[in-house]
């Protein structure tokens, strides 16, 4: 327990910037009428936003503020107790599987939307699954 819900800690601040990047991405996507142009602009912003990822990762090393230094993702033995480490790793794996599943479902919708004039989409829509 850190005894606070918000301070200008390096990790918290870089995560706040990540939140703003997400909001900016959503705003940019919705601001552009043409879906293809919007997707391209969003992709560029996402690539630029990736710069923030290593900053978040190393923020606890570069600036020693409230957040502790790396406790799991380091070469040496994790300094987190096994009773917390094992559930943490299981939950990370579970969330990654969930994310992959949801991502594939959303990509499927995107492909249907973009290829809506293709014959295989029309056949799919006409078939029993679309009725």
């Amino acid at each position: 327990m850190w005894g606070t819900w918000w301070v200008w800690d390096a990790r918290l601040t870089s995560e706040l910037i990540l939140l703003f990047l997400y909001l900016g991405y959503i705003a940019l996507q919705n601001a552009i009428e043409d879906r293809r142009v919007a997707a391209r602009a969003g992709a560029v912003l996402a690539v630029i936003g990736t710069v923030n990822i290593p900053i978040i990762h190393y923020s606890v090393l570069w600036w020693s503020t409230l957040h502790q230094a790396a406790s799991v993702s380091k070469m040496a033995k994790p300094s987190i107790h096994p009773t917390m480490l094992i559930p943490l790793l299981i939950m990370i794996a579970a969330f990654m599987c969930y994310f992959a599943a949801v991502l594939l479902m959303r990509v499927r919708c995107e492909i249907l939307q973009f290829d809506r004039n293709a014959s295989w989409v029309r056949e799919l829509a006409r078939g029993p699954s679309g009725a």
């Binding site: 969930y98 919708c109 249907l112 809506r116 029309r122 799919l124 829509a125 679309g130 009725a131």
Partner: protein
């Protein structure tokens, strides 16, 4: 019984802990349900559009 109550009380932080669980559950369920319904509407729209006269496959 008291042990159970102590567990749910979460050392006085019950409101934070259980609302986090609730919010996470809502987000997880929505993320699974929304693409499914979107796909269904999309397919329905595509099927309906195809039925319009003057448009051939």
């Amino acid at each position: 019984m008291e042990a159970l109550q102590n567990f749910f009380a979460m050392g006085g932080y019950a409101a934070f802990v259980w609302s986090s669980y609730g919010l996470a559950c809502v987000v997880l369920v929505l993320n699974a349900v929304l693409p499914r319904s979107q796909e269904k509407t999309l397919l329905k729209q595509i099927a309906a559009r195809r039925a319009l006269p003057g448009e051939d496959a």
